[in-house]
């Protein structure tokens, strides 16, 4: 499993999700902290392409051997693409949470929502405070 890292170019949500914003699109995933807390991911249940997700609401599930966890949307939008490779290799979420372990791509419905997310430093402060 990779070392703890929180890339500077991502935006973070308090439910331990990240967003990589690119114009009016964004890619979502779970943070290093989230995958470490979950343990080895053995199943990702993706949403359907074309469905909508709402900021702060659960849109998918990831499961370890022992437990299931909701994945929360850091931003609102419409699902453009899901990471189909995770069907056969859900462990990518552990091995490369910010790369091959990405979960979905969305088209943003409200770009202003981005301002409410944390940067890497703020998110790491949140982790240190024990939330």
């Amino acid at each position: 499993m990779a070392e703890a890292s929180y890339p500077e170019d991502l935006k973070y949500h308090q439910e331990h999700d990240w967003a990589r914003v690119d114009g009016d699109e964004a890619t979502f995933g779970v943070t290093w902290y989230a995958q470490d807390a979950l343990g080895e991911v053995v199943f990702f249940d993706p949403p359907e392409v074309g469905s909508t997700v709402s900021k702060d609401e659960a849109y998918a599930e990831v499961e370890s051997v022992k437990a299931v966890s909701d994945v929360f949307a850091p931003l609102s939008g419409e699902i453009l693409e899901v990471n189909d490779a995770l069907e056969d290799a859900p462990e990518n979420i552990n091995a490369d949470p910010y790369g091959d372990g990405w979960l979905v791509k969305i088209k943003l419905t409200d770009a202003a929502e981005v301002d409410s997310l944390m940067d890497s430093a703020s998110y790491q402060e949140l982790l240190k405070s024990g939330s």
């Binding site: 080895e40 199943f43 051997v65 022992k66």
Partner: protein
């Protein structure tokens, strides 16, 4: 030292070994126990292919001795206690008068006493039941929980590892022996909860770290203990067994010898099973979890991802009409109906039977 507060989690003699090994420690039945070290899948595979050691010191022990010890156990335990060989082991359930299951237990016949291993969460309840039922018998019931640490060493290489520390021959399956392991006097039992060969060790608490260190095999947490037992369809009390379930529907009629007159036998004789506990595998995506409904009127009692079969597996109670191996069923996993198939026990076999 003052006694710990009531809300303090108890720790086994191996607690610092778990911390040092990087274990994730969780509350379990009042104990602070390792759920995993490196990862459930790696630990699971270590036991299936090599050897692993579990600290199961949270499990309880009750010792029964005296002239009527066998008669007493014949009364409280469901199996035929008279059939336990000298130094032998036997599985049974502890029933209430109405047949509800209080616990499932292994009992060992030792030269001077019987030793019964309880589930951690049930130990106090079992002990109270033993004491309550023992008043008519000339027996001594002793709470031996504090007398032992317990390790399970399991896997195809487990016996070899333990034999290398022992001053004598290991007992065969379902037998026990008193041996020195790394200089520590242990009760070595040819039993386990993984479907692999191996032994369970009852050790004086002060000798537990010596034996643990000498074993030097992969530590395995309670997470993999659960996946290992579920692959071979061993019951877990609190999931697959409870006071609200009878052992007949749980598939444990084989260890309920009604003619021995044990407590609950009369009630079980009247049971007309309506459901059966069956193992199943998911034939598509998803992972079953305890409490998921099964379409047609059933419920999942244990569910997980199987590291060996690499799919969702579980056990659950279903109406008899759905209980035959090969029956297609659907499990409602948080609103999604997932296809599954009822199978025979065990779900995982080292050398799969043909067909």
């Amino acid at each position: 030292m003052p006694p710990p507060a009531a809300d303090t989690l108890r720790r086994t003699p191996l607690f610092d070994r778990h911390e040092r090994a990087g274990a994730r420690l969780v509350p379990f039945a009042g104990w602070e126990m390792p759920v995993q070290y490196e990862g459930i899948r790696q630990e699971h595979v270590a036991v299936r292919t090599g050897a692993g050691v579990f600290d199961v010191s949270h499990m309880g022990e009750i010792e029964t001795s005296g002239p009527e010890a066998e008669d007493f156990l014949q009364r409280v335990l469901s199996n035929d206690v008279t059939k336990i060989a000298e130094r032998g082991a036997q599985y049974s359930v502890l029933c209430r008068e109405d047949g509800g299951v209080l616990d499932d237990l292994f009992t060992y016949r030792l030269p001077d006493r019987f030793l019964t291993v309880t589930n951690a969460a049930n130990h106090e309840k079992d002990l109270a039941w033993f004491q309550q039922q023992s008043t008519e018998f000339d027996v001594e019931v002793h709470d031996a929980h504090a007398d032992y640490a317990m390790l399970a060493v399991q896997g195809p290489e487990a016996r070899g590892v333990v034999a290398g520390l022992a001053d004598g021959e290991l007992p065969p399956r379902m037998r026990t022996a008193d041996l020195q392991l790394a200089g520590v006097g242990c009760l070595v039992c040819g039993t386990g909860y993984t479907g692999e060969d191996g032994v369970e060790l009852l050790i004086p608490p002060e000798g537990a770290t010596t034996v643990w260190d000498a074993l030097g095999v992969t530590p395995v947490g309670l997470g993999a203990r659960d996946t290992l037992r579920l692959e071979v369809c061993f019951h877990l009390y609190g999931n697959d067994l409870s006071e609200d379930r009878n052992p007949i529907e749980a598939g444990l009629g084989w260890c309920c010898k009604l003619d021995t007159g044990f407590i609950g036998a009369d009630a079980l004789r009247e049971v007309e099973p309506e459901q059966a506990l069956v193992p199943f595998v998911f034939t598509g995506a998803g992972i079953p979890r305890q409490g998921n409904p099964i379409a047609g009127g059933g419920v999942v009692t244990s569910g997980t991802f199987s590291p060996c079969l690499e799919t969702g597996i579980g056990m659950g109670y279903v109406p008899l009409g759905l209980s035959e191996p090969g029956t297609s069923i659907e499990v409602d996993v948080r609103g999604k109906l997932r296809p599954a198939e009822v199978r025979k026990k065990p779900l995982y076999e080292k050398e799969p039977a043909s067909g």
